[in-house]
């Protein structure tokens, strides 16, 4: 309705820039083009390839989750949609031959600008020894096995010992554990890049501790992820202490109850005492206090120490923890460790120049409930005309694709609601052509959707030769080479 009214009163179609091509960017585009088909959307993506964490986060053994790419591909086929790959907005490009444009220029040339650039940093623990060799962030490791160019050279030290520690108990932590413990022959059929497969094949890791500060009823992972690990063939789960759960599970809310049942049931494979058996455990109520090396190899991790915690109200999902009194510590031998305590969004560098506030604590752009970017309360809390945010940079780095989608739809609805007012200001906006006129851009380096289709085709072709879904290119130069 709004769309029709708008068409009658105005001939300038609203031009919208979306920064980021993950699920948030695409579902926002989807909603906006559905409700306002005359709008023009330019989607900027810093990498030469689209889809954000669907390509570089979602685990290779979750191919069904990636089916949302089919929807995104259809959105990209809309005549009013333009993909501008290999173009970073507001930050310098992080790779050679990448293009960077200023946020100021983008803001001048569009009626609306949408921040959908996700959360590409990670949180640090801030404990001693975090810089030792063998201590990685889960984000880097995930990027490595998914072929993220910036992490392709990680070379995680998987061959030094049998025991690994993952600090954190969210779904990403369980993804990491599952990849570490999966049969490489199974992974070889998926889209894990060859360099990662080769290294995983030489991994000595057989025992993974997934360690959390709190208890099972406060853990963030979902039933699906726990069940997947329980189902892995030949993988044993170390049984849990029943005292961690209420006597009557029926008193718990549905999701907690179902999760508790899975954890208490455990794995069909018993923990074997024979060498070579693989196993994992959930180690609760432990906070890491230091990563330690051994005297014969002072640069390398050899063990991780933790202090024991107790829950203030054990069966409440929001319970906090305090250290045991008197304190107790435990040490887990570990030749490799991953901290998986959350992704983190950062402000774009140009936010300062254009005066957009960023909530560093929560790692989000300040916004109203729908997703309009807002001034800080000290500055009156008013919304910025024509600035929006969506996805992880709006909600913080939590939530599955379904929730990111719901959130992106809310932002899309806000854009549609505001569109008439935004473009009624009367000014015609130059869009991408306008940005090109202002900025010094090597045009030939910009990756179009057709270009992406060529990269996609080349990856699938290479995959076919190797008997897998696709063989990802892990270097941006390689991707751009295909387009020469």
């Amino acid at each position: 309705m709004l769309a029709l009214a708008w068409q009658r009163t105005n001939n300038t179609p609203p031009r919208i820039a979306i920064i980021g091509s993950g699920p948030a960017g695409f579902y926002t585009a989807h909603r906006t083009l559905t409700r306002l088909p005359t709008s023009h959307i330019d989607m900027y993506e810093a990498l030469p390839v689209p889809f954000g964490l669907v390509r570089f986060g979602v685990a290779p053994d979750h191919p069904e989750v990636k089916n949302c790419q089919d929807t995104f591909t259809k959105v990209a086929s809309h005549p009013n949609f333009t993909f501008l790959g290999n173009v970073s907005v507001g930050n310098p490009s992080d790779h050679d031959h990448g293009v960077g444009v200023s946020l100021g220029s983008v803001m001048r040339n569009y009626h609306a600008v949408v921040f959908a650039y996700g959360a590409s940093r990670d949180r640090k623990l801030g404990v001693r020894g975090e810089g030792l060799k063998g201590v990685y962030s889960a984000r880097e490791f995930v990027g490595w096995y998914n072929g993220l160019p910036a992490c392709a050279g990680l070379e995680p030290e998987l061959g030094r010992g049998e025991e690994a520690v993952v600090v954190g108990q969210g779904n990403v932590a369980l993804d990491v554990a599952r990849i570490l413990l999966s049969d490489v022959d199974v992974l070889a059929k998926l889209d894990v890049p060859e360099h990662a497969l080769a290294r995983l094949a030489e991994s000595k890791v057989r025992r993974v501790h997934v360690v959390g500060r709190r208890g099972p009823l406060q853990a963030a992972f979902s039933t699906k992820e726990a069940r997947e690990l329980m189902r892995l063939e030949g993988l044993a789960f170390h049984p849990l202490d029943k005292g961690l759960f209420p006597e009557d599970l029926k008193t718990l809310p549905r999701a907690s109850r179902r999760l508790s049942e899975i954890l208490l049931k455990g794995s069909p494979t018993p923990v074997s005492t024979t060498p070579g058996g693989k196993s994992w455990s959930l180690d609760f109520l432990l906070s890491p206090s230091a990563f330690l090396s051994s005297p014969d190899s002072p640069d390398h991790l050899s063990s991780t120490t933790f202090t024991r915690n107790t829950l203030t109200s054990p069966f409440s999902p929001t319970s906090s923890v305090e250290p045991l009194n008197p304190p107790e510590t435990i040490t887990i031998p570990s030749s490799i460790a991953f901290r998986s305590i959350g992704y983190k969004a950062a402000p774009l560098q140009d936010f300062q120049t254009v005066g957009i506030p960023f909530d560093e604590g929560r790692g989000v752009v300040k916004h109203d409930p729908a997703g309009r970017v807002q001034h800080t309360p000290q500055d009156g809390g008013k919304v910025f005309q024509g600035l929006y945010c969506t996805g992880w940079v709006k909600t913080g780095p939590t939530g599955v694709i379904a929730s990111t989608m719901g959130d992106a739809f809310a932002t899309g609805d806000a854009i549609v609601e505001d569109a008439e007012r935004l473009s009624n200001e009367g000014r015609i906006k130059g869009g991408w052509e306008g940005v090109l006129a202002e900025e010094n851009v090597a045009r030939e380096r910009v990756v179009s959707w057709e270009d992406w289709n060529r990269i996609d085709g080349a990856e699938k072709e290479r995959g076919r030769e190797l008997g897998k879904e696709r063989e990802k290119m892990v270097q941006t130069e390689e991707m751009l080479e295909v387009l020469r």
Binding site: N67, P397, V400
Partner: protein
Amino acid sequence: MSAFRLCAQRLPGLRSFPKQPASAITQKLAVSPSPPSRAQLLNAARLSPRPQLRAFSASARVSHGHVDPPKPGEELYVTFVDKEGEEHKIAVNAGDNLLDVAQAHDLEMEGACGGSCACSTCHVIVTDQKYYDQMPEPDDDENDMLDLAFGLTETSRLGCQVKMTKELDGMVVKLPSMTRNLQASDFK
């Protein structure tokens, strides 16, 4: 063949970019019993004048919905109540799943994972317990996904997992709004 490849071939269409809005409406009206409801007429009126949409999906790869219209006399009926409260009564075949049906009729059901029980964006609420009880129980995988669905109820199901049967003839399901899930979906 992996589940992924199977699903990639199914490619449920984008509900919201109908290929031929006009014929979709005709179909909707044609399969409806006796006179079309007010809601359907409203819907038809609202959808028809949108020529831009056609240009868009001409290039879309596959059209939506992989359900055949039922043979006369063999129709089963299911009614979807959308977020605006409008009812859409649709004639379907035994064996059709609710995601395919909804997408074939341009109802707002995303189906992000293409019906492979991995996303919960096809959540439906069965309005009458009687019909809910007629369905085979959800399996573990469906329940795991329902755990993540926003606004879960006692009679919630995933549309992609519910197949129409004679017992379900006349069933009414609600499409909940896809607002943000604030529950157990922490992807930290």
